[in-house]
């Protein structure tokens, strides 16, 4: 359900950008969503459509770029791709992994008129 809040946050950032950059229509929104981020993409798409109704981003296309999860092992310093937080290091078996990429979610850019 918190995808509703995330969709609203996205619209707020778009509206801020509209004031600063003087555009009146958003055609495409590119997001970067980490594989480990606590967000369900289909839910986010649904709520994005809901919250952008009657807004500057009405009918804008939502493009989501997946960012793979990456971590470094605190024990043996191996760098690896991970899909979940509970994966073990493939080299030494340790669970002491430090996430280095893929736990964030950002608005990357907009196509506007």
């Amino acid at each position: 359900m918190h995808e509703l809040s995330l969709a609203e946050s996205i619209l707020q950032l778009i509206e801020d950008a509209a004031v600063e950059q003087q555009f009146t229509q958003v055609k495409t929104v590119w997001l970067e969503i980490g594989q480990l981020a606590c967000v369900e993409q289909e839910s986010l798409r649904f709520f994005f459509t809901v919250v952008t109704e009657d807004s500057i981003a009405r009918q804008a296309k939502l493009e989501i770029i997946d960012i793979a999860g990456q971590a470094m092992c605190d024990q043996c310093h191996q760098v690896m791709m991970i899909a979940t937080y509970h994966q073990a290091c493939p080299q030494c078996g340790s669970y002491a992994l430090h996430v280095t990429q893929g736990d964030g979610m950002r608005i990357k850019e907009l196509e506007v008129e």
Binding site: M1, H2, L4, S5, L6, A7, E8, S9, L11, Q12, L13, I14, E15, A17, A18, V19, Q21, F23, T24, Q25, K27, T28, W30, L31, A37, C38, V39, E40, Q41, E42, R45, F47, V51, E53, S55, I56, R58, Q59, K61, L62, E63, I64, I65, D66, D74, T84, Y85, H86, A88, Y95, A96, M105, R106, I107, K108, E109, L110, E111, V112, E113
Partner: protein, 306 residues
């Protein structure tokens, strides 16, 4: 739900009073609707749901990345490059600044419904009451039952009802801090909405998130809901007085929690009987001490607790 944008703000109430909208834009936005409602180039393709037939599991959110294709001649690209949670994080930073200025040490208690957050709070208040000021912000979708339980202990409590919302956010806490006179050098407990998913992503400006797991839940909760255990700085394992009657494997639960969050401190407690609660009080004391040493925080609380 707010009719302006569909956000959940419209039903959010603090002590029963409607909360002001966070739509603070002073500039009137002009916008044009898209020319064609059915531009084939902009049709949303349904992202796939993959089925794992061997384990009867459906995996959502496995859609492929979109490609980058700026279109019409009038179009232009605008770089944003901002975290989606930027707004929440700005409110959280304001809260953190306010709390630091007033030497208030804030803990955000998170768990699934029914794990005993309010009982832990009531017991904690009983153990600390009279030694220094305590305040509580309660978050629930509906009712002020929890705030009433806290107020019965003599400690001021403010209830936030999130309506349809599934978590507290930093803006709500900012509003609550404005309405609630919290004395300097206080401990502030924020009891989040009972939900092991959504509150994990929302910084409220607290010093620490504390996750509560109870022995009546499954040992594998940390694996099923990893984000919360990853975000927390302490895990309280509550209802340990019931362990003789349950099949709950404490060591397994802790090992699962450590897979998600290596080194996460775990305290085994029973809020009902009081066992293990002194270790929890000691943890609060130690973290207060650490925060005070690091910068700004309550020397007063620290000396009282220590």
């Amino acid at each position: 739900m707010c009719t302006t944008c569909g956000c959940g703000i419209g039903q959010t109430r603090i002590n029963g009073q409607s909360m002001p909208s966070r739509h603070r834009s002073n500039t009137r936005l002009r916008y044009r609707p898209m020319q064609s409602a059915h531009d084939p180039a902009h049709e949303q393709a349904a992202a796939p749901v993959t089925a794992d037939h061997t384990t009867d599991t459906l995996h959502f959110g496995t859609g492929i990345a979109g490609t980058h294709a700026p279109g019409m001649s009038q179009s232009r690209m605008v770089k944003i490059e901002r975290d989606i949670l930027t707004k929440n994080n700005q409110f959280a930073a304001e809260n953190r600044r306010y709390l630091a200025e007033h030497c208030i040490f804030a803990l955000n208690l998170v768990s699934s419904p029914g794990s005993g957050k309010t009982t832990v709070l009531v017991k904690t208040i009983e153990m600390l009451r009279g030694r220094f000021p305590i305040a509580v912000i309660e978050g629930d979708q509906q009712t002020d039952h929890d705030a009433a339980r806290i107020r019965a202990t003599g400690v001021p409590a403010l209830q936030i009802n999130t309506g349809k919302g599934c978590h507290l956010d930093a803006h709500m806490i900012g509003q609550a801090l404005q309405q609630m006179p919290i004395r300097d050098n206080s401990l502030l407990f924020i009891e989040n909405v009972g939900n092991l998913v959504c509150p994990s992503g929302f910084d409220l400006g607290e010093a620490h998130k504390v996750v509560i797991l109870s022995a009546t839940e499954g040992e594998d909760k940390p694996l099923k809901y990893p984000d919360m255990f990853h975000a927390a700085d302490l895990m309280l394992l509550n209802k340990c007085d019931l362990l003789p009657h349950l099949t709950f494997d404490v060591d397994l639960a802790i090992s699962y929690a450590h897979r998600i969050h290596p080194g996460l401190p775990v305290l085994q407690i029973s809020a009902t009987l009081g066992s293990g609660m002194q270790a929890w009080i000691d943890w609060i004391s130690a973290e207060c001490h650490r925060a005070a040493a690091a910068s700004q925080l309550p020397q007063h609380i620290d000396s009282t607790l220590g």
